[in-house]
């Protein structure tokens, strides 16, 4: 059986990895030059506890199980997961009542360990929270990760277990015969498939239309973020801080990143559904001002002068504000769409569900591979090792002692390993190794990384791209013969 997965964000990647446990052919189609570079790349990176979602929604069904699955997933795929807990802060009496509602909802959804904290407890745990706080909902199971790493690791693991990854391969058509999936038409040719999984993120409704399958209309909801320098601001808050939610969503949060920085965001701006807006990841003045004022309300001492990066991501929102997943009117076509928040959290549970769903619809039982390898090895970050062990590693390979990214302490060996694992662009190196992710944002090391890329890929420096083919970095020579 051939299963084509459209999209390699966390949802597509985890479905691919789950399917690679079985004796089926898995083909992953990704239009970008690397995996996880769409919605997955730019969001809050939160593994939500699961008290936000109203019981009865698809979100509620998958969030808590997904949250639990991350513990094993993080171990098997060697991705960073920190269960630092979240606090929903209340500054007014009526907000305390909302906390109580969330608490009850959380219990109903099966969230463990919820507590309502009084002011003193909040402030002793988080001294930088605005002292005007009166109460907070504590959820110890909430955590943070690197979403793009989930994608990268899951796809790596799936590929190791036999899946095929087609990058820069955009699905442009889907052929069906008498209500059954027949083939995928891409810019790189046609692929016969028995099953298609639509995990195409913000374009999932367009993909469904290609198959004449049911869908919900999607529009992008923009979320802007400001990242503060870990070297200047690490430890400012320990847990994920939310304001009390409103009809507009969970609100702007202040959270540590797994790397130690402080992330402020998102805004929530609904954009029209037209194609141009589905690519609109531009930040705005209004967005910055909104983020700053909201963060200052929760943590008055936050210092935006330590900002090192601003960015925006898009979430695929539907009128139902809920996931739209599973079987469709077309046999063999499955949706995993409208994966708005808590999509990242729910993704592992959805992946498991999807594998069962496919078997049920097709009336087949997949045979588990005997040689499935559930673990994936991460690129070793030498600076985390005790110095004695690091010294030994350098004796084995001197590149492990050659420092390239000075801010995040990434060695040449790590860069080379990322390239051997498939990184071809500057951004791919960045998201795999955290090089250029620090205080100087590549000021000291981008040129060195470009030279390593050129050397390892055996191309001229001018061929090195930021991300896609068109994101040319250098433009000609100063002197030429």
């Amino acid at each position: 059986m051939k299963i084509g997965i459209i999209g390699s964000g966390v949802v597509g990647a985890l479905i691919a990895r789950e399917l690679s446990r079985y004796d089926v052919e898995v083909l992953i189609f990704e239009k970008n030059s690397d995996v996880g570079m769409g919605i997955t790349k730019a969001n809050s990176a939160i593994i939500h506890a699961g008290y936000d979602d109203e019981p009865g929604t698809v979100r509620a069904k998958f969030c808590v199980p997904g949250n639990r699955m991350y513990t094993d997933l993080a171990k098997e795929l060697q991705i960073d997961l920190k269960r630092i807990g979240s606090l929903v802060l209340a500054f007014k009496e009526e907000e305390v009542r909302i906390l109580e509602t969330l608490y009850k909802r959380g219990e109903e959804n099966g969230v463990e360990g919820l507590e309502i904290w009084d002011r003193d407890k909040v402030l002793s745990h988080e001294p930088n929270v605005n002292p005007e706080v009166i109460a907070a909902l504590w959820a110890p199971t909430a955590g943070i990760t690197e979403p793009w790493m989930v994608s990268i690791a899951a796809v790596e693991n799936a590929v190791e277990n036999g899946a095929k990854l087609y990058l820069e391969t955009e699905v442009v058509g889907i052929k069906t015969t008498s209500g059954r999936i027949e083939k995928l038409i891409t810019n790189k040719g046609e692929f016969d498939v028995d099953v298609v999984i639509n995990a195409a993120g913000i374009y999932a409704d367009e993909i469904a239309k290609m198959a004449q399958a049911v869908y919900v209309p999607l529009h992008p909801r923009k979320g802007e973020y400001i990242l503060l320098d870990k070297q200047e601001f690490s430890g400012f808050v320990k847990s994920i801080l939310f304001p009390t939610p409103s009809v507009l969503g969970k609100g702007t949060l202040v959270t540590p990143t797994v790397d130690g920085g402080i992330l402020v965001g998102p805004t929530a701006i609904d954009l029209p559904p037209e194609r141009e807006f589905r690519e609109d990841t531009s930040t705005t003045f209004e967005g910055f001002e909104s983020l700053m004022s909201k963060a200052i309300r929760m943590t008055p001492l936050i210092d935006f002068r330590t900002s090192i990066k601003t960015f925006a991501g898009l979430r695929p929102e539907s009128p139902q504000k809920d996931f739209f997943i599973g079987r469709t009117n077309i046999v063999g076509f499955f949706n995993a769409m409208a994966m708005r928040s808590p999509g990242l959290t729910a993704a592992p549970a959805i992946a498991k569900f999807m594998v069962e769903e496919i078997q049920e619809v097709l009336g087949e039982t997949f045979i588990a591979k005997q040689d499935f390898k559930p673990t994936r090895e991460r690129i070793r970050h030498y600076a985390d090792l005790p110095t004695i062990l690091w010294d030994e590693e350098i004796k084995k390979d001197p590149l492990a002692g050659k420092m390239i990214c000075f801010c995040n302490k990434v060695t040449e060996r790590e860069i080379v390993q990322a390239i051997r694992k498939g990184a071809k662009t500057v951004d791919s190196i960045k998201f795999r190794t955290r090089a250029m992710f620090g205080s100087c944002q590549g000021g000291f090391c981008m040129h060195r990384i470009m030279k390593i890329l050129a050397r390892e890929l055996n191309v001229d420096l001018s061929e090195i791209r930021l991300r896609s083919e068109k994101s040319v970095i250098l433009n000609g020579k100063v002197r030429e013969l």
Binding site: V478, R479, E480, L481
Partner: protein, 124 residues
């Protein structure tokens, strides 16, 4: 009449000069605190002089370019023409800082000299 405002750079004092070129060709400098200011203002009005710094391509060097400068200030109006010459020049490594790479460029009396060492790469 032509008028130009500038800060004198002959010394760290940084006098703000007003330099006027009268119709009869006379140049009047005001705002200066010493005679060097007059000299600077006149020069800037008639024929501004600049040190040009740039690079020349090196063949078989450990780095692709050798940085260069003019050995003395040259007329500003010649910058573009001298750049053309630099762009079409190639030198062979090794190069030492201070080497004269082009003599008396465009008859200015200034040489183009290397401002860094470039080692010759060893060919295996």
């Amino acid at each position: 009449m032509k008028k130009d405002e500038m800060v004198c750079i002959m010394c760290p004092l940084g006098c703000r000069l007003i330099v006027t070129l009268e119709n009869d060709g006379e140049i009047i400098v005001t705002g200066n605190k010493c005679p060097r200011g007059i000299e600077y203002g006149r020069q800037e009005m008639t024929e501004p002089l600049r040190i040009l710094t740039s690079s020349i391509l090196v063949r078989n060097g450990d780095i692709p370019l050798v940085s260069v400068k003019t050995s003395k200030p040259i007329p500003r109006r010649l910058l573009t023409d001298i750049m053309k010459i630099l762009k079409s020049t190639v030198v062979e490594a090794p190069v030492s800082s201070g080497d004269v790479l082009i003599k008396n460029v465009l008859d200015t009396g200034a040489d183009i000299i290397a401002t860094r060492n470039v080692e010759r790469i060893k060919i295996a």
